[in-house]
């Protein structure tokens, strides 16, 4: 059994499990299930109305990026990752991840419907703003090689293409770009604005952390199974993909924050992007590139520790759905 390759009939047997980590992640993902309507946005709407133009622009711009981005991730999984994976437990996980991306997209849609945005202009932003077009083109560049008929996953070049696309989608898009977006989104809550939107972001972030865990696992296991990929040149190329991703994000951040808002400006976010990118490089087994420090120390409050929720003040975002705990299903009592 290998992770990538052409499918064979035995790939349809879940058991025996060859990649237990994937199955565990699937089970955790199921427990993380949430729905956007659990979040009430009325108070956030009041906040939004009080915001400055620059603040509103930032929120709008984030939405304009995230909404299509979730779907691009799905496309990449469906066309560039799922088909080349043989392991059924990985397929289980990716099926759940794809539902999550869909759920995120619908969640942002829910915010878009609730806030007084010009929806048309939000939807068009990613088609019009050069820095956003560039980000999408970057992802599609790697994806298009996967959908190319000539790709043979059993060759070294085919495997490299798989890793390139995986890194672009999972490490760069989900692991760097999304993370910088989350930091910006959560910064509003840190200033006591958009608290419920912040709760939603907490949920999205919880999901994305799992996606990233899966991606890192996948990269490492594939490298282990295919040592021919471990060359300096290929490593350098992979690093380059991350660096290019950071550069694209830097340009994008200038459009996100043409001016600053309280607590945030483009330089600040760029520094955070570099900090996160260094972490991703290290997780791939490479040295840091930027050596940037984390400017957003407040993120320790936002994401790093357990959150104690006063339930009648805030949505509890740390609950988990758990059908296993009971062991007994609910049944209709006899009349």
């Amino acid at each position: 059994m290998t992770l990538i390759g052409k499918p064979s009939p035995t790939d349809m047997n879940l058991h025996p499990l060859n990649y237990k980590w994937a199955y565990d992640l699937y089970n955790q993902a199921v427990r993380n299930t949430w729905f956007p309507h659990e979040i009430a946005l009325k108070e956030d709407l009041e906040d939004f109305e009080k915001m400055t133009e620059d603040e509103r622009h930032a929120v709008k711009f984030l939405m304009a990026f995230f909404n299509p981005a979730e779907l691009i991730v799905n496309r990449s999984i469906a066309l560039g990752i799922y088909p080349y994976l043989k392991s059924p437990e990985c397929h289980l996980y990716l099926a759940k991840q794809m539902w999550e991306e869909a759920n995120h997209c619908v969640s942002f849609e829910y915010v878009l419907e609730t806030f007084p945005f010009d929806r048309e202009s939000v939807f068009n932003t990613h088609l019009e703003v050069p820095s956003m077009i560039a980000k999408e083109a970057f992802i599609n560049k790697y994806l298009s090689r996967m959908t190319d008929d000539k790709l043979d996953i059993d060759t070294v070049e085919g495997k490299k293409d798989f890793i390139r696309n995986l890194v672009a989608t999972n490490i760069v898009m989900e692991g760097v770009w999304f993370y910088s977006g989350f930091m910006v989104a959560l910064s509003f809550r840190q200033r006591n604005q958009l608290r419920n939107f912040g709760s939603m972001i907490n949920w999205v972030l919880r999901d994305e952390s799992l996606h990233l865990k899966f991606g890192i696992n996948l990269v490492h296991n594939i490298l282990e199974e295919n040592p021919e990929l471990l060359t300096e040149e290929f490593a350098a190329e992979i690093r380059n993909i991350v660096i290019e991703g950071v550069d694209l994000e830097v340009a994008y951040n200038k459009d996100l924050f043409p001016n600053g808002i309280l607590g945030l400006n483009a330089d600040y976010v760029n520094q955070y992007v570099q900090y996160v990118a260094d972490r991703r490089l290290q997780e791939l087994g490479m040295p840091k590139y930027y050596n940037a420090t984390n400017p957003a120390k407040w993120m320790s409050t936002a994401t790093d520790v357990f959150e104690l929720v006063n339930f009648f003040e805030s949505q509890n975002t740390s609950y988990e759905v758990d059908s296993h705990s009971s062991g007994t299903k609910k049944e209709n009592p006899a009349e």
Partner: protein
């Protein structure tokens, strides 16, 4: 980058780093190494600036920069707090200038107070009595600005956002000391000497020795003094009353109280309608109306309505009720805002234990069950079971009792609802049971008051801050007594000033004068005393503290009865028969037919309950005295742990209406700093999400004291509550925390709570199994799974890695935060600053608070007619509260103070509970 700052008047001026530095510098006085703090905050502030930033935003940016450093050094909390205070002073105090000398400022603070009251009365915000009844000059001279130093940042921020009175632009018009004085005055109108009593109340609250409940904090002294915190109402089974209940809920919510609402009486779905034929839709759609209604209300204009539905689990629609808080399903059958609690009988708990069936009925056919409790309930229940089996009831369901219990707890695990509340423990132990059955508890499961069609139960709350009564690792019992007595008096005063929006609530409030004095800071206290929550020391200590508070509270209410008369419904109550809470343990055991598994003896031993019993039988001012609320907000305000809760974790975040705050255990930090290991372990503590158990550098006896809520045994939570419940006439909000998801174990834990006589439990917090990737700690997921990936290659010799590969865009790469110009030398503290930083006041302690005096002894309170103020001269240090007299140790080149809490195992002189 050239940056301009937009001033209040709209003019722009160039950014002046020096100005910011100076303001930070002022906020750092008296702290360790102020220069590095100023540099740190100034640097990080600059990082977030942008061109055109307003001066207000600049203030906020400085505060934020200070706040984000608290995780590394709790002294930044002091800086953040002082910076925040400065912005507040600027808005409220006339002619405030940040560089004012202490005395000049204190004077402005006094003068503005008088202006605050006079203007407030003049423009109709404050009650006319606030001016008419008081000597404002004298009160202004009582104000102690230095007590603002007692706050922590998060509490102060919450206070400003939540409680301070605002003008039409939502700008505060009072500062913290005015706030305390406003409440003190607002509860003293009817005293014979209002000014004197207001001073006493003020001194208690401003020292954070007790804090009034939320509604009181919001409304005391205003023209609309809606001061009550809790309402409990029963919804009757007729359309007119359901409609009225919706209206009542809305009116009560507007006044800022939390609501308990019982729906047990509502007939089942499918139950025939009397007049018009057809069948009922059952409780769910009606509850949904109320759920929607409370969303529309901003309590006191500040937070949305909050309510908890109660249902007894013999209701045939109980399975549907169990689903009300599910996150998915038909939205019309789900309560998005309201909470749920199940009201469980002893009969049910016994059937769970014995493996019997549980029958559910339509209340239209079994209406009396809701009114019965104890043996009478069981007898009647069995009769209905027989009728059901004989085919004499229209509808019933049955299910194994243990199966329903399992379903309740499964739902509790996943949605934290319904809370478990025990009907028989509440009713059998009630001292106020002469006015009917108690059909529910309240929003926070600590209130036990009866209600019916004509009475909506009302409770008025305040909480003692136990931690403020600890000095030199000992409880200051006489000060605690003084606090209890004054708090009870203040609560009793509240009732005659209180405004209630519906007559049924006004009637109940007036006739029962129910109050609930709580205790907060329990964990804070035992940590300071070196006890583990999970130890017999802590349990005995809880026992002892609650006995003492209960005794003094009851005694003070009996005093007030002699001064002011008993409450209307006193005759016939258990009080009138000379009963006190501890006496009702036997009643519960008899009713239940089995002993409680909690120690029933006294751990205090110095209190003569017989004397009190005889005094109580002659008259009580209040139907109830104690209730331990969750204190999620006022606990934060008082910078202590809420209620009887354990520390959630040594570091965690609180998601509040006013913002998200990092909560770090100052006691632990101080201990670790004194041991000289704080800097070595602080990152690990965050990495481990506030659990220190796995950090090897921290010695075992520290780990024992500082467990997290998930590593503390759940049985310890039950034991602490059970010990306290012995003495508390109402109940306690008992939050539960579980790491286990084993449902059988969970059932066992909750059954133990019942066996030990708990009246209620509150939220169940489950430990999350998966959390988002941490941002500020060193995360490497590959290392966690033991993979090196490309790390197998040697990059140091790689030409590909030696130079940057590609730079398509110009990236500004600050590897470090930009360095600000060297900060001006921080001037040494002026003598006056020193005075304020380390203030010591000579204060008197009143041993008796009532105008009708009692002797200052615990055993034999005797009436004294004339006012004799018994004084004890005590030196009270205002700040910091816990002063160690540490030894010093030199490690490397640093000098450390050494004070670790003594190891409980080899020390017997710290546990005052065991002395």
């Amino acid at each position: 980058m050239s940056i301009t700052v937009t001033r209040h008047d709209g003019k722009k001026e160039p950014f002046n780093a020096d100005k910011i530095n100076r303001s930070i510098e002022r906020a750092c006085y008296g702290l360790f190494d102020p220069v590095s703090k100023v540099t740190q905050i100034a640097t990080e502030t600059q990082l977030t600036l942008y061109d055109g930033i307003t001066t207000d935003e600049m203030d906020q940016a400085t505060i934020n920069a200070a706040v984000q450093n608290i995780k590394d050094d709790i002294e930044y909390d002091i800086v953040a707090k002082r910076l925040l205070l400065k912005t507040l002073y600027r808005q409220v105090i006339k002619d405030f200038h940040p560089s004012d000398e202490v005395e000049v400022f204190a004077n402005k603070h006094r003068i503005s107070f008088i202006d605050f009251i006079e203007t407030g009365v003049a423009n109709g915000k404050l009650h006319p009595e606030m001016k008419a009844k008081f000597n404002l000059n004298e009160l202004a001279n009582t104000l102690k600005i230095e007590r603002d130093e007692l706050f922590q940042y998060a509490g102060l921020d919450g206070l400003i956002n939540r409680y301070l009175i605002k003008d039409i632009n939502q700008k505060p018009i009072e500062v913290p000391q005015y706030f305390f004085m406003r409440i003190a005055m607002g509860l003293s109108y009817n005293e014979s000497n209002p000014t004197e009593m207001a001073k006493k109340f003020y001194n208690k609250m401003s020292r954070l020795e007790y804090v009034a409940g939320g509604s009181t904090n919001l409304a005391a002294g205003t023209i609309n003094p809606a001061l009550s915190n809790c309402y409990l109402l029963e919804i009757q089974d007729d359309m007119r009353h359901i409609a009225k209940s919706v209206s009542d809920v809305m009116l009560l919510s507007k006044g800022s109280g939390g609501i308990g609402a019982s729906v047990t009486k509502l007939r089942a779905s499918g139950s025939p309608l009397r007049k018009y034929g057809g069948t009922s839709t059952g409780p769910t759609p009606f509850a949904k109306i109320i759920d929607t209604a409370i969303r529309a209300i901003q309590r006191g204009g500040k937070k949305k309505g909050a309510l908890c539905f109660y249902m007894e689990n013999w209701h045939i629609d109980f399975p549907e009720f169990l689903d009300w808080k599910k996150n998915n399903g038909d939205d019309y059958m789900r309560m998005r805002t309201a909470n749920t609690a199940v009201f469980l009988s002893d009969e049910f708990m016994k059937r769970v234990a014995s493996g019997d069936e549980w029958y559910m009925f339509d209340p239209a056919e079994t209406a009396d069950l809701n009114e019965l409790y104890g043996e009478a309930f069981s007898k009647r229940y069995v009769e209905y079971v027989d009728m059901a089996n004989a085919g004499k009831l229209r509808a019933f369901k049955k299910v194994p009792a243990s199966e329903q219990y399992r379903q309740i707890l499964t739902e509790l695990q996943s949605s934290s609802h319904p809370w478990l509340v025990w009907k028989d423990s509440i009713n059998l132990r009630a001292l106020n049971n002469n006015t009917g059955t108690i059909h529910m508890s309240n929003l926070c499961t600590e209130i036990c008051l009866p209600q019916d069609r004509d009475n909506v139960a009302v409770c008025n709350l305040a909480s003692l801050n136990l931690a403020a009564h600890i000095k030199n690792k000992e409880v200051n019992w006489s000060r605690l007594e003084e606090s209890v007595r004054l708090a009870v008096r203040q609560l009793d005063n509240l009732i005659d000033i209180n405004v209630l929006p519906i007559p049924e609530a006004a009637k109940s409030d007036r006739e029962n004068r129910a109050v609930g004095l709580g205790v907060m800071g329990f964990s804070d206290t035992i940590e300071q005393l070196g006890m583990s929550y999970d130890s017999p020391h802590a349990w005995d200590f809880a026992d002892r503290i609650f006995e003492f508070v209960s005794y003094m509270a009851i005694d003070e209410s009996a005093n007030l009865a002699q001064e002011r008369g008993s409450y209307t419904n006193f005759q016939g109550s258990e009080w009138s028969k000379g009963k006190v809470p501890i006496d009702t343990l036997v009643t519960l055991e008899e009713g239940r037919g089995r002993p409680l598994t909690v120690s029933k003896t006294s751990k205090h031993k110095g209190l003569n309950w017989d004397v009190l019993r005889s005094k109580v039988s002659k008259g009580m001012r209040n139907a109830t005295l104690m209730a331990v609320a969750p204190n999620a907000n006022i606990g934060l305000l008082a910078a202590t742990t809420p209620g009887i809760d354990a520390r959630f974790a040594q570091v965690f975040s609180r998601n509040k209406i006013s913002g998200k705050y990092l909560d770090i255990n100052h006691n632990l930090v101080k201990d670790l700093k004194n041991m000289g290991i704080w800097d070595d372990v602080k990152e690990q503590i965050i990495e481990n999400q506030g659990d220190i158990a796995g950090i090897s550098l921290i010695p075992p006896h520290i780990k024992e004291v500082y467990k997290t809520s998930f590593t503390t045994s759940p049985y310890a939570y039950i034991e602490v509550a059970a010990r306290a419940q012995k003495w508390v006439d109402q109940a306690l909000s008992r939050n539960m925390y579980l790491e286990t998801r084993d449902i059988d174990e969970t059932m066992q834990i909750y059954s133990t709570a019942w066996e030990k006589g708990l009246k209620s439990t509150y939220y169940l917090h489950m430990k999350p199994r998966h959390t988002a990737e941490q941002s500020t700690t060193n995360v490497n997921k590959a290392a966690k799974i033991g993979k090196v990936g490309f790390g197998a290659l040697n990059f140091s010799n790689s030409p590909a890695f030696s130079a940057p590969l590609q730079k398509s865009l110009d990236v500004n790469v600050p590897t470090q935060a930009p360095i600000v110009e060297p900060v001006a030398v921080v001037s040494p503290m002026t003598a006056k600053q020193e005075a304020i930083a380390n203030i010591t006041l000579e204060e008197e302690i009143l041993v008796s608070t009532s105008i009708v005096k009692t002797e200052p002894v615990f055993s034999q309170p005797v009436m004294v007619k004339e006012e004799v103020v018994v004084q004890e001269k005590v030196l009270v240090s205002e700040a910091p509260r816990n002063e160690y007299k540490p030894l010093e140790r030199v490690v490397g080149e640093k000098k450390y103070n050494i004070i670790a809490p003594e190891d409980p195992a080899d020390s017997d002189n710290i546990c005052i509970a065991c002395q």
